[in-house]
Symmetry: C2
Subunit: 346 residues, 2 copies
Amino acid sequence: MTTGSAPRRVTIADVADRAGVSTAAVSKVLRGAYGVSPGMRAKVREAMDELGYRPHAAARAMRGRTYTLGVMLSDTRNPFFPDIIEGVTGRLGGTEYQVLLGPGGDEPRSQARMTDAMIDRSMDGIILISPVMSSAELAAIATTTPIVVIGRHGGAAEYDSVVDDDIVGARLVVDHLADLGHRRIAHITHLDRGRASGADSPQAVRAEGYRQAMRARGLAEGIDVVATSFTEEGGYEGARQLLARPARPTAIFAGADVAALGVLRAAYEAGLSVPGDLSVAGYDNIGIASLKPISLTSVDQDGHVIGATAARLLIERIEGRGRSVLSSVSPTLVVRGTTGPPAGRE
Amino acid sequence: MTTGSAPRRVTIADVADRAGVSTAAVSKVLRGAYGVSPGMRAKVREAMDELGYRPHAAARAMRGRTYTLGVMLSDTRNPFFPDIIEGVTGRLGGTEYQVLLGPGGDEPRSQARMTDAMIDRSMDGIILISPVMSSAELAAIATTTPIVVIGRHGGAAEYDSVVDDDIVGARLVVDHLADLGHRRIAHITHLDRGRASGADSPQAVRAEGYRQAMRARGLAEGIDVVATSFTEEGGYEGARQLLARPARPTAIFAGADVAALGVLRAAYEAGLSVPGDLSVAGYDNIGIASLKPISLTSVDQDGHVIGATAARLLIERIEGRGRSVLSSVSPTLVVRGTTGPPAGRE
DNA sequence: CTAACAATGGAGAACGTTCTACGAAACATG
DNA sequence: CATGTTTCGTAGAACGTTCTCCATTGTTAG
């Protein structure tokens, strides 16, 4: 019984037999193709229901679509992936498409391997989240299968892109802090280890947005950027450097929440009260940011909208749109307990 | 250029042409089948390399394997999924197998839908993480495709199971707290809304382990279980109830870290110091548990080992093992700052 | 020297769909 | 009533593999 041989699958031929029509007819009904009388459609539908027919995706793949979309994840631990995924699946809810996720790792090679694997499995389209590849490589993939890239600024003619508007996000933070009265607002960014992303990367754009916003508020002299990494440790390290400045900043804008957590630890160790002595803001609005003991002011990316947009663009591509699209999603600022007016004006 | 028609795939026939042999021969080399001379093997290998041949998984699926394993995720937000995934992919590193993740949602229906989708895509095997289905449904799936179930106690003849030993985990916490001198140790568990899991669920086993351990330490009178839910809110609510007891507990063991976070909030609001007035322990050892401002004592499940074990069992099943296996992975206790000796003995 | 057998390679039929032709009605038009 | 023109339905060839035979060699035994 344990080794019960699997019962043969119900195929299109079984349905055809049952309904007393040809397999071609069943296929037509299945695809909603032209040339089917209402009577036949009903007969076939009934037969399919009775037999519990489900199309065999692999067989479909041999000729037409698989109705499968792939999402290449560059980092499974990234806390807003779930939101993006939810956005994607939510958007695809009514359709026949299924979403499968591929853990691509953080290496260009492993990501390429995963992307190849998805192509080999005849996926109809692929969404790549923050891929670490050159634009040329992405373009090459796009010649084989429609793709949408999330999280890379710049865009390209060969594929669609969805990005968070990091310029706006950075400005929201700077404006908020400046409105509170801060003048020396420092920024912690992530140092790219010579990867192929460059100025397209979110961290680079956030840093640029920070600089622009500071200048726009007439705080050009207050500009102070430290490049460590987007980790708890990186935030801690960056904050230690900043807090050792002769005129230390009254506010630190970390380019990522994880780094902001490190900043909080550094502040705590330095005996600085938050937000009394130091205001701290992050980016990404990860889950713990809202937790009481943290209560971190942060920029929210609305991964839901990003995911849904990516799904929409991908479907459009698959259905034939040629023109390339770059969609920019506006972030919002969530003000919480780690930001407030600076203690003493000078 | 944008609409460059995709270049035709390199097929087994192209390789055969190039090497001057038949497609059957190429297939044999590919599968490592019997009846291939070293000379031919070399020729074919060379042709494959030159042409950059990659097998078409969908075509393979029509006859043999797809070398694709599915992992059904019941909750993408679950913080130890990444560990499990890493364990799975790590184990499969050297092999030809690829892992694809399917977000199954938390509804039995949507999970069944995802599982069906994986079967329809001819996956060679499926790992189900904490599925919300009856054992009968799981057994039915297992007749079609080999499966391994993670996180369901009890096991079954039709499939393999990998579980965290929640009895041991609960005992580790109770022993730790009892060693510190606590006598009134309360437990917060998750109330199952009549789902088909029952006594198999981790929360039920953890609660049972808690009771067993309390009795073993002669603390039977101190047993106090509150059933809310494994969320921040549920932990908060449960703690409020417990702290309102005439003789309030000196320690709370939350069945999940997220709930423990809620307990911490309730303690904070009640003006109780942790661990001075109240010790708190969780389960799962999620990422933020180790963060300084939280520093939560918790039980670590080693998702890595769980994932790797599941992958191993699944491969064994696919290769033909008939006998069913239930593998239990022992958790470890990570002691951090939220547990300490009780303030005043009475 | 022949029979038996192992080793090697290839022909060709699946597998479950899609989709292009094409035929046979049914209907409209003159 | 002959002749288009739709509309409906079917044959059958793909698609890229796997894998079961079968044919052709050598090789060995008697």
